[in-house]
Subunit: 216 residues, 2 copies
Amino acid sequence: MTANDLKLYHSAASPNSRRVRIFLAEKGLTVPLVSIDLSKREQDSQAYRAINPRSLVPTLVLEDGTAIGEVLAIWRYFEDHYSSAPPLLGVTPKEKALVTMWERRAELEGFAAVMEGVRNAAPSLKGRAIAGPHGHEPLPVLVELSRQRIRDFFGDFDFRLAEAPFVAGEKFSVADITTLVTVDFAARSFDMPLPRNALALKRWYDNVSARPSTAA
Amino acid sequence: MTANDLKLYHSAASPNSRRVRIFLAEKGLTVPLVSIDLSKREQDSQAYRAINPRSLVPTLVLEDGTAIGEVLAIWRYFEDHYSSAPPLLGVTPKEKALVTMWERRAELEGFAAVMEGVRNAAPSLKGRAIAGPHGHEPLPVLVELSRQRIRDFFGDFDFRLAEAPFVAGEKFSVADITTLVTVDFAARSFDMPLPRNALALKRWYDNVSARPSTAA
């Protein structure tokens, strides 16, 4: 299905954009994409700030011009508007609650820790240690804290994936998307590949990475 | 409506628990409550850790014993399971996306900043600077960073509430609940009352605080 009345502003290099691209590929939805080049700081251009004053990608722009920021909000829009596509946020109230809980844990304990580590370590992000329009200088002490948090995340999710085939339980969901993007982000941008002893997490990772959507 | 088959573990002093209590009061739902005394560290007891191994409140326990942690997940359960109660997460796909976006901004830019500030400043939380089972020593430098982030939050949300009657637009939603709990939490626990010049935010606060649900 192609949603030609929408526009998704994204960046190939942005892990948050990838969370949306994988979601769309799993649903079989095609949305016109507009690339924002973060290396040229296009997100700070006047043209993009008119769309998203917080200078963040991704942003989904609806037919009536409404701009939706935040991955979770973009997912929510597609899940409810294209309800014939495969559900990724759960079906029953209990499933929906469990998917929400596990996706959130993956994001806050995993994804956000990698992001904080990268932003406080990367010289190119000087003055931008927190995403958004308010400048913050990096705090080197947060780099080590992030590493600790990621180690805990790997341990906790290895434990979880020893007891369930997917992060939120029996079915693939957005909780798997966020966990997968986090594992790749940690390995590629923060030099923290999966630990060798995280066998269940590694088995889950190999399984989920084989889905064609993850190339998105 | 009374949901006697559920149990909500909460603490009177916990701002995350308050987010759930206000939500239930707005919906007119009554759920059997079980108090966890944080001052006695009851959340670390073996009995409570069997329910929520992360030692966090609130937790919703379903009839079949499934434990749902995370405020957003608990809200989602009630919104979908008791669909005759007033909606607080939006009705149309566009509203749902905007509520998700604004609630998330209130939480990440406001609520989480106050929480980080309080946890890194409070001597009684030594070794527990990050919520959950993994101990972390407080970093005093984060207290000042939190103050900066809360000042930015007050400014950004004052701007927002000068253009819309409620945080997510025309209707009261969970975005207002999180913003209200954040404003009270900052004033009571982090000595950061609303700035005098935040006129729109103050007008919104007075209006929303007058709702009976906020006593919950």
